[in-house]
Subunit: 399 residues, 2 copies
């Protein structure tokens, strides 16, 4: 019997392959987190859900290393966190200095421009860190800089920027320090209060080990003053932190329906982080990255980020001459179920980006990827000494 009525694909079940997500995020998630998301839904004003909200805020403060009252998850992904940080602090006509050494700092400048701010850019070469002296020189040029913005861990290059030092410069000139920690929070140290960071946001899908969909954010006392003294309404109602704070604190004033299941997941993800302990977690990220770097270099590959400022959470590596970016990534995905990321913007086709974030920062992933590269690269015309990448990683892990 033949039928012309083929069932449309969307009515079929979907069973995704079990990938090892070593791209720039999302990262794999602890099964406990996915399980927590299946708990029965509660209403967004249910007293039992309010306990969950309180727990999440308390744990976010520990992870951000802050006592900031206004610490909560924005109901959107990391980019919504970036936008929330900027729209709440900026008003039309404000002056912002942005340090740009990658794709995501450029996004900050784009969003600040959409807020009506005047944006002054201090560039550093991709792969190098921001230069605090150059930042200070730029800040000094303008009569009233409101915000100095930067990305702590630049996901596009694998570089770590000197946040504490630049935050001090901002304060010395009466400006706020606004920092993106999307690829650092939960993976390397982020010390909001000690560093004097005034506004900071992150995402859940990288080193916090949750699915994408929420953006933890925190506003310090200086930032709170700015919120209070605004002359114009925040241009985004959805991201207006003064309204959000009213829902997330004792007031419980209804704003929008919180993404209940995602917040269950975040609570569980934060529990996993705190059970491991921040210090142990940072060490684990560092140890595995050292092993990955040793392995890549043993295969003759060159790391993109300068030594000394490399992110353990995200490693950028030069694609060898003559090797096809997409063929290698496609072979990794199709034959080994491993995702790594390509380059963004000016380094598209020139670098790969390898994430070791949250759950994924573990020896088996380091070794599995190096082993796969040892098999794939020779087929693409790049000879490697087979086994040497894995062996170098093993030695680093044993050290």
């Amino acid at each position: 019997m033949q039928s012309n009525n083929k069932t449309p694909r969307y009515l079929e079940e979907f069973h995704p392959p079990a990938r090892i997500l070593m791209g720039a995020g999302p990262s794999n998630v602890n099964p406990r987190v996915l399980h927590a998301m299946t708990a029965p839904l509660l209403g967004h004003l249910d007293p039992d859900f309010i306990r969950v909200m309180d727990d999440v805020r308390e744990m976010l403060r520990i992870v951000f290393q802050t006592t900031n009252v206004t610490t909560l998850p924005i109901s959107g992904t990391g980019s919504a966190g970036m936008e929330a940080a900027l729209v709440n602090i900026l008003e039309p006509g404000d002056t912002v200095v942005v340090g740009i050494n990658g794709y995501f700092a450029d996004r900050i400048s784009q969003i600040a421009t959409r807020c009506g701010a005047t944006v002054h850019i201090v560039n550093a070469p991709w792969g190098h860190p921001l230069d605090p002296k150059a930042m200070e020189a730029e800040v000094k040029k303008h009569p009233k800089v409101k915000v100095v913005a930067m990305v702590h861990a630049e996901t596009s290059t694998g570089v770590q920027n000197p946040v504490a030092e630049i935050a001090q410069i901002a304060h010395r000139h009466g400006a706020l320090a606004l920092v993106d920690t999307v690829t650092s929070l939960g993976g390397i140290e982020v010390a909001i209060d000690r560093w004097g960071v005034d506004v900071c946001y992150s995402g859940t899908q990288k080193c916090l080990g949750c699915p994408p969909g929420l953006a933890p954010i925190t506003f310090g006392p200086r930032a709170e003053e700015v919120l209070k003294s605004r002359k114009t309404p925040v241009q985004s109602w959805y991201l207006d932190v003064t309204l959000l704070r009213s829902y997330w604190s004792e007031n419980r004033a209804y704003h929008h329906t919180a993404p209940i299941s995602m917040i269950y997941g975040l609570r569980e993800g934060l529990r996993v982080v705190l059970e491991e302990g921040l210090e142990a977690r940072f060490q684990r990220h560092s140890r595995n990255a050292q092993a990955l770097w040793a392995g890549l270099e043993a295969l003759g590959l060159r790391l993109f980020a300068q030594e000394g400022v490399r992110l353990p959470t995200l490693t950028a590596v030069h694609i060898p001459d003559g090797v096809s970016d997409t063929q290698v990534r496609s072979a990794l995905l199709r034959q080994y179920n491993i995702e790594i990321a390509g380059g963004l913007g000016p380094v598209a086709g020139k670098i790969w980006r390898i994430g070791l974030m949250g759950e994924n920062a573990k020896p088996s992933n380091v070794v599995t990827l190096l082993s796969a590269l040892e098999e794939i690269l020779p087929k693409m015309g790049y000879e490697v000494a087979k086994g040497e990448g894995v062996a170098a990683a093993q030695r680093a892990l044993a050290a």
Copy 2:
């Protein structure tokens, strides 16, 4: 042995009670949807995830009854959908007419104001529908109205507005029709193309039977023209539909990291909707609402919304004189695990709001709630003829 080191609550496991969510949303979710969210994460540019995106768009078009190319889920809750609709269409100085007969239409006017638009309001009493004649009279007063905005199913009052008629008026005067279907999509008919709606958004947590966190949105050809001819950038980068469309269509240009697990859930929720069939689903919502109304009236309670324009998905009912709003709702929650909602704004303390949305529009919920009210209300000083509410609902269901 005694210890001063009490484990903080946030490190304990959390097991929410299994509530029947008959408030104004979120609603309970089909277990298939929660299960789908536990599938292994994929990267947001993984070819296998792109198939999921395509499936979701195709099913959203069926549910919206549209062929609009730009149909996709916004990565935020229903309010993010509202903001996305407005920020993409409006520029500073534009003129908007908003029909307001409830809380959520008022929110539209607030967000439109934050977009720099001049907002003209046409009020109708809460509990009554918008008056198309009054809407047209207001539109005629202003030289160039860009948008006529309204809420299809007003969650704050349980009233359904005459969308198709008002959309025609908008077009007659060269304006776009912008419609909120947060409490209608998937529960009662929403026919974007036939009604001539130009911009429409909804939420996943009500009649679509998914957790909160995504906002389906659709832009028709007239709205696309407006997007193309904007003179200023959209004030929100995160919600800029021209950028989002580029990621959700063939281009696949990276914008932000999609909330992967939520989109798995939406795909499964839409499959559930289409397996049931839209027409059958609308009938189920209607049949159960009729039973609820019969039951409430049999208990002597008065419905808030005018007859003929009542929403099957959300029923507002007057709180009887002398009965405490919060005591009744608290008893329902604590003793019966049933959530219903109170009134918002001017009707706080005066009405209850009872949702029968998605999975929850079923006889067992109608009967369970009526039975609980029959037990609780007499304890609060309001006598009822026990069993008559349930019996009336049963008769309506059998009819």
